[in-house]
Symmetry: C2
DNA sequence: GTCCATCATAGATTTTATCTATGCTGTTGG
DNA sequence: CCAACAGCATAGATAAAATCTATGATGGAC
């Protein structure tokens, strides 16, 4: 039975000229799109594309079907838009990267609720990978996550850019310095932030300098990590935007990795005006202060 | 994400005025349709129906959506039809009830292939229940099965109507009689045709007459059953249309159950002209001879 | 009151879209 | 001419979703 997603796959192939790019644009894997088109062709009883491995081109039947497909997909969108006007108080669902301070998000939520108490906001956190999946499948309206990672699957908007720095307890021997040499930390015990995107880079950094750190704690909970740093259990490396009383944040010499945090949307959700949501407006106001 | 089947459910509810009938018309269970409509409403962000337990009626938003829904579903069908014209040599898939003689179907296949050797026909057999599911899900274009069973889920066409009769080996003491009394078979061993729709009725018939038969064989394979009847392993009851050398078919007195065999289509497949297929034409020509 | 018709909900089941991994086939660059 | 590559297809496993059965809730009819 011909179904809506078949039309989307078909149109994507027409618009992008090959299956692979079309798949990326639909946020699915290439084989998925491949069997999707095959299903459509079988439902219609006609081949729609001639596959050469240089490019795909429409058959005569495919060209004829294109008219219908465009019209139908257009009507779906028109219906959706028309209904959206009547729709009351939409729930705003946003995914947030686990390695972004909860306090930051909490402030943004509080501020936007202060603007409009009737807002309904839902936060879900996860890894970069999980968030991509959520955005792609429409389980969230957008995600606050790492951006500029080369896969142009989503519409992206930069919020802030930052580096990474050490987290030491306030009276650690090196706490007062602006920049610390990795070699000077050979005797320290480290805490592993298991979900951190910089994990690989960090261990490489120390290995290259002949430092083989011991580990006292592994966690995905950054708030707890900060508390334990303050409690002198160990030191760690984390993005600049983290801060806590009793924790100093000197730079680690030669550690130049940076990350860009921004908002990722699907094309549709971006087009449907999600990006003007007060929560995101608030985040945009807060963001410049976090650039380092 | 709004999908095509949502539209079909929605339109069915509008056209039939309540969820239960709409579900029957869509060949799905009532809860399925219930959650389907709920999904659609959530996708659109608006309630589409006001549910009273007397009837459902459209909300304002629902009435507005109706225009889009009808147009889109219409376009889907138009596209399907338009493409079907180009489509080459369609495969004809037909489900056949297990308790219909294979020889009958084989004759029909042979005859229609004689008319047009380019025909591509695919036969699948199964129980009445299985065939319903196949028709409903579009896995077959139609099914040759029991009809007139009260559930007007499908378009039905009567082929022939018949009763049930005994199957005895040719020189069985009662083989020459036209009608046999159940009581006279008390000493006989019976074969159970496990897939037979008359199974319950048969055992009730004997129980009511104080006959408690012994069983020598249970099978779903009627050809083998007939061979074993001829081989004097046991006797059985089967629809009139079965025949084999060495097997006599006297009536069983008081056993009045009858069955109607016909073709069941979905509305769409019927509309798309499946019923004019040579295979079905052949069956129609053969059918009158089978009325008993 | 009980019965009946209607829709909603919950949990299990089945189906199906999707993914990962891999194969195949031309094309390109060395 | 061969290796690397880019592009689509296939297979098996996985995950998601639609669907089913069974049951509950509600209101009208008798």
């Amino acid at each position: 039975m011909m179904d809506r997603y078949h039309l989307r796959y078909f149109l994507a192939v027409v618009d992008h000229g090959n299956f692979s790019r079309a798949a990326a644009h639909c946020n699915v894997a290439q084989p998925t799109l491949s069997v999707g088109i095959a299903k459509l062709e079988s439902a219609l009883g006609t081949k729609l594309f001639v596959r050469t491995n240089q490019r795909v081109e429409l058959t005569v039947a495919g060209a004829r079907f294109l008219n219908y497909a465009r019209r139908i997909e257009g009507e779906f969108n028109a219906a959706q838009r028309a209904m959206a006007q009547t729709a009351p108080a939409a729930l705003f669902r946003v995914g947030v990267l686990g390695s972004i301070p909860g306090a930051l998000i909490a402030r943004a939520v509080a501020a936007s609720l202060a603007v409009d108490p009737s807002l309904r906001i839902e936060i879900v956190d996860g890894s970069e990978r999980e968030l991509s999946a959520h955005v792609a499948r429409g389980r969230v309206d957008c995600a606050v996550t790492l951006i500029d990672r080369g896969s142009d699957r989503f519409e992206e908007e930069l919020l802030f850019e930052e580096g990474y720095a050490l987290a030491l307890w306030a009276d650690h021997p090196r706490a007062a310095e602006a920049v610390v040499q990795g070699e000077d930390l050979a005797a320290d015990t480290m805490i592993v932030r298991r979900h951190c995107e910089a994990l690989g880079e960090t261990s490489r950094h120390f290995t290259e300098r002949g430092v083989r750190p011991r580990f006292s704690y592994r966690s995905t909970n950054d708030e707890r990590v900060l508390a334990l740093v303050a409690a002198r259990l160990g030191i760690t490396i984390m993005p600049d935007c983290f801060e806590a009383p009793g924790v100093a944040r000197p730079r680690l010499s030669g550690f130049t990795l940076r990350r860009k945090i921004g908002v990722a949307y699907t094309l549709e959700s971006h087009a449907s005006g999600v990006s003007t949501h007060p929560f995101l407006q608030t985040l945009r106001e807060m963001a410049p202060a976090l650039n380092v």
